[in-house]
Each structure stands twice: as structure tokens, then as C-alpha cells.
């Protein structure tokens, strides 16, 4: 069965123009079933785990909480609620280290050591009974954000303006970052919930067509979802895409499937497309059917320096150190800790920060993969131009950044760059191109 799918996948696969082919490293964890992380002693829940305003705490020190209780409410429209993943006691509301490197307000909860940690929340109203406004409010209360990495509040994205009809609901199961396999495992093991969540969302956004894009290196996910959609009698097109980075970027996925570009400065919905990560959709189903708000997520803990790479269902707020210990700890050779994939992930200085909603992977690498390569002058080979999925001129932008010519950078469309890192990946002279462009973008924005 998997053999046939692989053969089918070898035929002409859809994709976008340009991009790069980094080594995948997925075999470290792509066959590991999702394991449930045991509860640990203490949880740190940062109030800012999404794009937008931080949540407002509803609890005070010493308060008892039950798994699934809301401990912070949305701070504004672009913000979501926050729930405790454990039964326990609030021990502090204060500043704690955040994965983004800052010290930010967080709620500390000491888990109840004798609790069974059963989810015991009142059943939700079924989505079939809800109006669109109620549906949007419900997912904000459920704390659901995009689980692909950016953690943008789902209710904002799903609240489609009346004048912009959604022609096409596209689920994103590309997972083009090397190493990461959490979305892959979710698609294989939560196919039913994924179809159910898609059905719920499709009803509210009135999408005419539903498809799911999966990179062709996950043939088992393609099969699982085709079977699940036919079992459920829910028409959903499963589209295998060519394995190429950054295939999972919204714009690249839309180019691959529709052959259409999202105009600069516009959103996918402006061309009638709504894109959502697969994990987000599963969370949607779990909230309505099992009354479980977003209190846990699947995280890939991997890298050549992790003793036992795994896909783990982790309660939010679990300290990363405990999670990595659960995966056997790290070897002596560990030199770099990342949140997310190796192409766009954020480096960590320690494992003392907690897992948050946007954490898709913890990656611990050794010298071998992260070898800093020597920097030579630009030889103008044009490899970065042929890698950039947005057809920018990274060589030029890098040069302008080094000279501090921010206006010229803007003229060369620096602000369009979404920092996928393909240019730095291919540069034979080892020039930190995307890194310079990030600085340039920050300078351009600051001057505005």
C-alpha cells in the first residue's frame, strides 16, 4: 500500500518555483508513535504564547486549579485564553524566562502529585448549534492558535470578512522543516479528528473546496488521510507536493496548488484561500467533541544530540529540561539547542524555559550539522537568487545591509522577505544573508 503511494508520488508533483533541498533528518523520529509526556512537578505558563496582546491572568497565588480551567482570559480581540494543563496550585504570577529570550509574566503552577489528571470540564455546545460569531468566540475561549509555529490566534484567522468568500480551505501538512515530524505523526495518528475538525471549520467558512497539502516524503500520511476522508464521507483532496523547502510557507503552498500568487501585502484570503496547520484543526475537534481546550500539543524532540528522539504529546508549560530528560537527555556532543526547525528555529541558551503553544520542536544539534562555514566575498554566483522563493535578490540585499543602505533595501523589497533562510543555506561563500536582511527589516521598520 505504501509502495503504491510512493510510486504515485514519484509522478510529477506540484510545487513552487525556486527553493532548496536540505538534508531531511526526518528518519530520526518519523516512525516514532506519539507518546504522552507524564506529568511533572511544576509548570510555567507564559501569558504571551501567541501573536497579539498577552492574556490577562484570572488566578491568584495559592488558588487551586483543575486541568482545563481557564487561568487567563484574552487580553484583546487579537489574543486568546490560557488554560492549565494540570490539577494543582498556583504558586506564583511573575516574571519567568520565555523561549523568545525575554523575561515575561507567567503563571507558575505546582502540579497536584496525587491527582489522576483527568480532564473534567463541562461539555461544549456542539458546533452545529453555533452561529458564526459564537463559533469564533468559542475558539478564542478555547485558547486555540496556529500550531504551525507562528501561533497566530485561530479565531482571528478564521473570522473571514463577509466580502471575501473562502473558495478554498487548504490544510497545511507540508512540514518542510528538516527534522520535524510532529505534523506528520498527527496526520497519521489523528486522521479522524483532523477530518472532523476540517468538517467543523468548513461549515463556518463555507469553503467550496477542501484540500490538504502533504510533502511526498510522508506517504503514510497521504494514505491515512485518503482513507479517513472516504470513511467519513467527507470530500477532501489530499495533494502530495514535492519535497522542497519552504514548501510549507503559505504563499509557496498556494503557488504550488493553485499556480496563483498572493499579491504583495495581501493575505491568502484575498485570493480566496484559507490555510491552516493540521495540528490546529485537530485542536478544534478536540475542543468541541472532547471539551478539551488547548492544554497540550505534539512536539518533536529530536536532533543528533538527543538520545531518544520522539514525538511527544506535551502539556503546555512543561519545562523543556523535563521534556528532553523524558527523551533520554542530550549527549556530550550537544552544541546547539533550537526551538522549531533548523531553517527558521530560534536558538535557546538553556533548557530552562517552558514549552509554549508555538513550540513545534526541540532540536539539539551537534557540531557536525551546525558547522559554521567560512565567510568569503560574494562571488555573485546567483545561487541565492535561484533559491529565494519570493524571487528577491538576497546577494544585493546582503550587500546593502552591510553598507547600512536601508532605503535601498526597502526599494529591493526587503520587507517582503519572510526569512525562510534559503539564501543563507545555499550561499557558497557562507555569507549570513537572511541574517543581514532581518537586521535591515528591523531598521526599515524602526525608521517608519
Amino acid at each position: 500500500m505504501i509502495g503504491t503511494a510512493q510510486n504515485e508520488l514519484k509522478d510529477r508533483l506540484l510545487t513552487f518555483r525556486h527553493g532548496v533541498h536540505p538534508e531531511e533528518f526526518k528518519e530520526l523520529s518519523n516512525h516514532q508513535r506519539i507518546e504522552r509526556m507524564p506529568f511533572v512537578e511544576e509548570y510555567i505558563l507564559p501569558l504571551l504564547q501567541h501573536i497579539g496582546a498577552p492574556s490577562k491572568p484570572l488566578v491568584h497565588k495559592g488558588q487551586r486549579v483543575r486541568r482545563g480551567d481557564m487561568v487567563a482570559e484574552p487580553g484583546s480581540f487579537v489574543s486568546v485564553a490560557l488554560h492549565t494543563p494540570v490539577d494543582g496550585t498556583v504558586t506564583d504570577v511573575g516574571l519567568y524566562g520565555h523561549p523568545n529570550g525575554q523575561m515575561l509574566p507567567a503563571i507558575r503552577i505546582k502540579a497536584d502529585p496525587f491527582s489522576t489528571q483527568q480532564l473534567d470540564q463541562p461539555p461544549q455546545r456542539q458546533p452545529e448549534e453555533l452561529s458564526k460569531a459564537e463559533f469564533i468566540a468559542a475558539i478564542q475561549q478555547a485558547g486555540i492558535v496556529g500550531l504551525g509555529g507562528a501561533a497566530f490566534p485561530a479565531h482571528v484567522k478564521f473570522n473571514i470578512p463577509e466580502d471575501k468568500p473562502c473558495r478554498h480551505l487548504m490544510l497545511n501538512g507540508c512540514e518542510c522543516e528538516p527534522f520535524l515530524t510532529c505534523d506528520h505523526r498527527v496526520m497519521v495518528e489523528y486522521a479522524e479528528e483532523l477530518i472532523d475538525g476540517t468538517r467543523i471549520l468548513q461549515r463556518f467558512v463555507q469553503a467550496e473546496k477542501v484540500s490538504i497539502a502533504i510533502e511526498a516524503n510522508k506517504p503514510d500520511a497521504v494514505i491515512a488521510l485518503r482513507e479517513a476522508s472516504s470513511r467519513a464521507g467527507f470530500p477532501m483532496e489530499v495533494v502530495p507536493l514535492k519535497v522542497k523547502y519552504p514548501q510549507g510557507a503559505e504563499k509557496m503552498m498556494i503557488s504550488a496548488i493553485l499556480g496563483e500568487e498572493v499579491p504583495a501585502g495581501k493575505l491568502p484570503i484575498d485570493v480566496g484561500v484559507l490555510v491552516s496547520n493540521v495540528g490546529t484543526i485537530v485542536a478544534l475537534s478536540q475542543y468541541f467533541r472532547q471539551s478539551q481546550p488547548l492544554v497540550e500539543r505534539v512536539i518533536t524532540v529530536t536532533g543528533t544530540a538527543v538520545r531518544r528522539p520522539a514525538n511527544v504529546l506535551v502539556p503546555l508549560g512543561t519545562p523543556m529540561r523535563d521534556l528532553v530528560e523524558f527523551c533520554g537527555g542530550v549527549t556530550e556532543a550537544a552544541t546547539r539547542i533550537l526551538l522549531g526547525g533548523p531553517m527558521m528555529g530560534i536558538v535557546q541558551k538553556s533548557l530552562d524555559t517552558p514549552v509554549v503553544k508555538g513550540t513545534s520542536g526541540i532540536l539539539v544539534l551537534t557540531e557536525r550539522e551546525v558547522q559554521d562555514i567560512d565567510t568569503f566575498s560574494c562571488i555573485r554566483c546567483g545561487r541565492c537568487l535561484e533559491a529565494c522563493p519570493l524571487f528577491l535578490n538576497p546577494a544585493r540585499l546582503g550587500l546593502l545591509a552591510r553598507k547600512g543602505l536601508w532605503d535601498d533595501m526597502e526599494d529591493y523589497n526587503a520587507l517582503d522577505c519572510f526569512e525562510c533562510g534559503s539564501c543563507s543555506y545555499v550561499c557558497p561563500s557562507g555569507i549570513p544573508l537572511v541574517q543581514s536582511i532581518k537586521i535591515g527589516k528591523a531598521m526599515i521598520r524602526e525608521r517608519k
Partner: protein, 332 residues
């Protein structure tokens, strides 16, 4: 001593492609070895000596005047070696060794270092060296000894002492196929042009090897396929049209493609990333420009050969092309 921190901090991406700039240069150098061997096969010891002199000129200049790169020794990125080899391959077998050495010094010194070193030059350094030699020593650089099967005997004025032209050790010298064609309308056999059994510069005679090297370099993505494709297609089409007007008088497209330095220049000099445009569209303009100039100079110009000037002229146009030909950005 401070211990290197165990956990390092930097920003993404953390993976890198295998291809590095030194690797590109060294791989280019390896592909030049068979071409050099063919030159030795046809022109004997002279080919080796001329190459050694030109390479020595490049390496000495780079070593003493070049900036220390990240690898320490400026020679380790391999680019000076490539320049030296390429310059040698554009010289006639009987060329005085001291001139070849001076050519190497000029190629690296004026072709590369005064611009700021690797990646900064506007013109291809090997061609700058050759243009200098052509201007300084017009007789020596246009005196061609034919392949004659001698391996050990030296040719022409190889051993002329510095600052002298030297007396040829043998009086043998012939016209190149391009000159034969231009001035006598006698085209050489295409088979000879392919195999290299003709007089000419060291590396330009064996068309077959150059074609193979070109295919290999394209497959390895060391050179941009658009450049050979653009140049060769333009030369074939343009010279084909001219040929159809008066077949006896003008060279056939096959002859135009194989004779002279076109293949060598196309594969190794026009493709120099430093002096060619960045964007694909710019590269098409550049390569078609070279093709047109080659045919113009060869057929209507005063010289039998025009590849060097065609490439140098388009090198000069490259900054302009880079400025005006911008890739269309996604979503605009």
C-alpha cells in the same frame, strides 16, 4: 585560555549546503586537468612549461599581495590557480615563459587584486592577463606552432630571456583555422577541430574535451547553464544566417562553434560568476551579447578571433545589467 562555550548562540538557518566557494574553484581546477593533458599531448613539454609559468605568476602575486582569506593562506581558495591555468590555456605553445609569468602577475594583480580581491573584479582576471599580453606582445601571442608529435622538444620562443622576444628554435609556425578561414576562406575539417589536431592556443584546440567539461560543470551546477546555452545558440543562429548568404565566403556555424577560443571562453571565462550578471534574465542578455559580439568581430572585425573582447565587453556591461534587470518579486 578561555574555554570555547559548549552551547553556542546564533540565528537560523543552521544547516548549510555542501557547496562552498573554495570547492567551486577546486572543482573547476580539476576539470581543467584533462584539457591541460590534451595540450601536453598535442604540444609536448612546451604546454607544461607555459602553464607552469603562468600559474607561477598568478600564485606568487596572490600569495604576496592577496588578502588573507578565512583559510589564512590566500592561495587555499583555489581561485588564483584557476586563473593561472585558464590564462595558460589561452596562450600559444611557443610563447616565451617570462611573458606567460608576467601575464599571470597582471591577471591577478590588475585583473583581481586592485579591485579588492576575490569577488570584487569587473573583468575576468585570466582575460585581463591575456588582453595585456595581446597589447604588449602582439607578435609572440599570434605565432602558432602546430601539433607535431614531439613531446620533449621545446617550441617557438619558450626560452626567450626576460625582456626579449627571442629567436624561434624552429621556424615552424602556421595560421590558426580562424585565420585560415578569415584570410584564405579555407575552413578546417570539423573532425580536427573536435579532436584538437590543429594549431591554436593550448586549451582551445580540443573541442570535444571542452564540450564534455561543459556538460559536467553544468550537471554539477558549478556553472550557469544559461551562459553556454545563450552564447552557443546565438553564435550558431547569427553565423548561420550570415553563412546562408554566401556559404563559400563565410564560415559555417559548425566551424564557428568549434574553431578558436569560443568553447574555452564560453565554458570557463564567460561563466565566471564574479563577472557575469546575477539574475537569470540578466544572464540571458549577457550571453546573447557575447554571442553577437563574437560573430561581429570574427566576420567583420580586423582580427580573426573575437571571443576575448566579446567577453570583456559584456563583463563591462554586467554592473549595468545587474542594475537594470531586476527579478520580478513574488506577488508584484
Amino acid at each position: 585560555m578561555v574555554d570555547k562555550p559548549k552551547i553556542t548562540i546564533s540565528t537560523s538557518p543552521f544547516l548549510h549546503d555542501q557547496v562552498t566557494t573554495p570547492r567551486i574553484m577546486w572543482e573547476l581546477a580539476y576539470t581543467l586537468v584533462p584539457i591541460l593533458m590534451a595540450a601536453v599531448y598535442y604540444f609536448g613539454l612546451s604546454a607544461l612549461l607555459v602553464s607552469a609559468a603562468s600559474i607561477a605568476g598568478c600564485l606568487v602575486t596572490e600569495y604576496y599581495l592577496g588578502k588573507k582569506g578565512p583559510l589564512g593562506n590566500p592561495l587555499r581558495d583555489g581561485s588564483a590557480l584557476v586563473t593561472g591555468l585558464l590564462l595558460a590555456l589561452t596562450l600559444p605553445p611557443g610563447f616565451p615563459l617570462w611573458m606567460a609569468f608576467v601575464g599571470g602577475v597582471v591577471a591577478i594583480g590588475m585583473g583581481k587584486l586592485i579591485w579588492g580581491g576575490l569577488g570584487q573584479n569587473v573583468f575576468n582576471p585570466a582575460l585581463v592577463g591575456r588582453a595585456f599580453l595581446q597589447a604588449a606582445f602582439p607578435t609572440a601571442i599570434t605565432t602558432w606552432e602546430p601539433p607535431d608529435g614531439r613531446y620533449l622538444g621545446l617550441r617557438g620562443t619558450n626560452l626567450a630571456p626576460p625582456f626579449y622576444q627571442g629567436e624561434p628554435v624552429d621556424a615552424l609556425s602556421t595560421a590558426t583555422p580562424l585565420a585560415e578561414m578569415k584570410f584564405n576562406q579555407e575552413p578546417a575539417a570539423l573532425a580536427d577541430l573536435l579532436l584538437g589536431n590543429i594549431s591554436g592556443s593550448l586549451g582551445e584546440t580540443c573541442g570535444l574535451l571542452l564540450i564534455l567539461a561543459c556538460l559536467y560543470l553544468i550537471a554539477r551546477r558549478i556553472i550557469n547553464w544559461r551562459i553556454p546555452a545563450g552564447i552557443l545558440a546565438t553564435v550558431a543562429v547569427f553565423s548561420g544566417i550570415v553563412y546562408l548568404f554566401e556559404p563559400g565566403r563565410y564560415p559555417s556555424p559548425g566551424f564557428m562553434l568549434l574553431a578558436g577560443g569560443l568553447l574555452l571562453g564560453t565554458v570557463y571565462m564567460a561563466t565566471d560568476p564574479v563577472s557575469s550578471p546575477l539574475s537569470p534574465r540578466g544572464v540571458w542578455i549577457y550571453s546573447i551579447g557575447i554571442g553577437l559580439l563574437v560573430v561581429l568581430i570574427r566576420i567583420w572585425g580586423g582580427l580573426p578571433e573575437g571571443v576575448m573582447y566579446a567577453i570583456l565587453l559584456m563583463n563591462a556591461a554586467t554592473p549595468l545589467i545587474n542594475r537594470f534587470v531586476r527579478p520580478r518579486v513574488y506577488g508584484y
